[in-house]
Symmetry: C2
Subunit: 196 residues, 2 copies
Amino acid sequence: MAKIKPGKNASKKDVISQKAAALFKSKGFSSASMRELAEAVGVEAPSLYNHIGSKSELLQGICFKVANAFTLYLDTTENNTDNHATRLEHIIRFHISMMLDHFDEVYVANHEWKHLKEPYLSNFLMQRRGYEKRLIGLMEGGIGAGDFKLINPYVAVLTILSAVRGLEFWQQHKKNINSQALEDDMVNLLLKGITK
Amino acid sequence: MAKIKPGKNASKKDVISQKAAALFKSKGFSSASMRELAEAVGVEAPSLYNHIGSKSELLQGICFKVANAFTLYLDTTENNTDNHATRLEHIIRFHISMMLDHFDEVYVANHEWKHLKEPYLSNFLMQRRGYEKRLIGLMEGGIGAGDFKLINPYVAVLTILSAVRGLEFWQQHKKNINSQALEDDMVNLLLKGITK
DNA sequence: TATAAAAACTAATAAGCATTAGTTTTGCTA
DNA sequence: TAGCAAAACTAATGCTTATTAGTTTTTATA
């Protein structure tokens, strides 16, 4: 009897997930149909169900893969001994690299999480809320240590996270501009402001 | 014969549009059904069509109302004689007030424009692109005049617009924090940075 | 080459969707 | 109060949806 081939199986599932991320990004989760996804993959719609559980599971997979990546990076950051400004800079640069290197998936996690079903919706929001709180803690530490200005730490964190998310608009012009220069400019703006 | 009552008619249409904005925001345009909208308004779904043309028209109305408000404010800003930093500050504060005072509609315009039909989709994107370009012009002027740092003006504009958009996450905590303080902190952060 | 699983296919199900047609009720005005 | 338009209703249309059932083809190993 033939053995299950988990390698090849997982690979096809990954292709579906990746195509799903691209489709959910461009049309939105609700407007994207399994027929369209199947066409992108190169099979008929029902054939997808040989590899995945449901449309919802695809969204769950994408959202939590992204959320876990961010959580994991924050874990490592909290265990090192850099000063607050340096740690914050590393986190900003990680966010930027995630936006540039895993655009489709990050975009979907940012925009389509609303369509997660319970209990995944609650879990996702809790994880995101926890992430924000840890960043706020970092910000408060920096203010206490005198590294940062006396600013509402919540406002600061939200501003930073939102600014980085804005890189989604950048994608169109990706080729015209040096990624490293972009990253440096944004980090500089957030840390030091626009005015001279 | 009874005359048409445009006042009352428009008012009902406005109620529908406002409920639609709230619904599109919370469920997304595609997932929101006319049945749900009708329930929010307090009628049966087909009755809505006595007041509106279609679901699509509702989205168009919301998106262009918002886009026109921003364009209009920029017009007035460009006709005054403040220095670049002051003009930029006014624009940022206008964005913040729009987010706080017309949250549902701005949210929908920011998130659901993708579901506009042609030619509205193209028009909307052109208008937004034009708006960004005028902001970039303002930024370049400020750099040339020595008001702003030597920063990529595109990065600066995208960062500012994205940061302000991030106020959508703020809505939940609206009551706990002084709006004016929030506005001042965000303006300060963007103009002068986080680090001391 | 025989065998068996993986993965494709076709056909069908049941539900939900926006919208239209046609009819009745409501409410204002003359 | 009679008449008329605005705006509600019910019923129906035609389309699209995710998903399941059942069957056939492909692929790889023994």
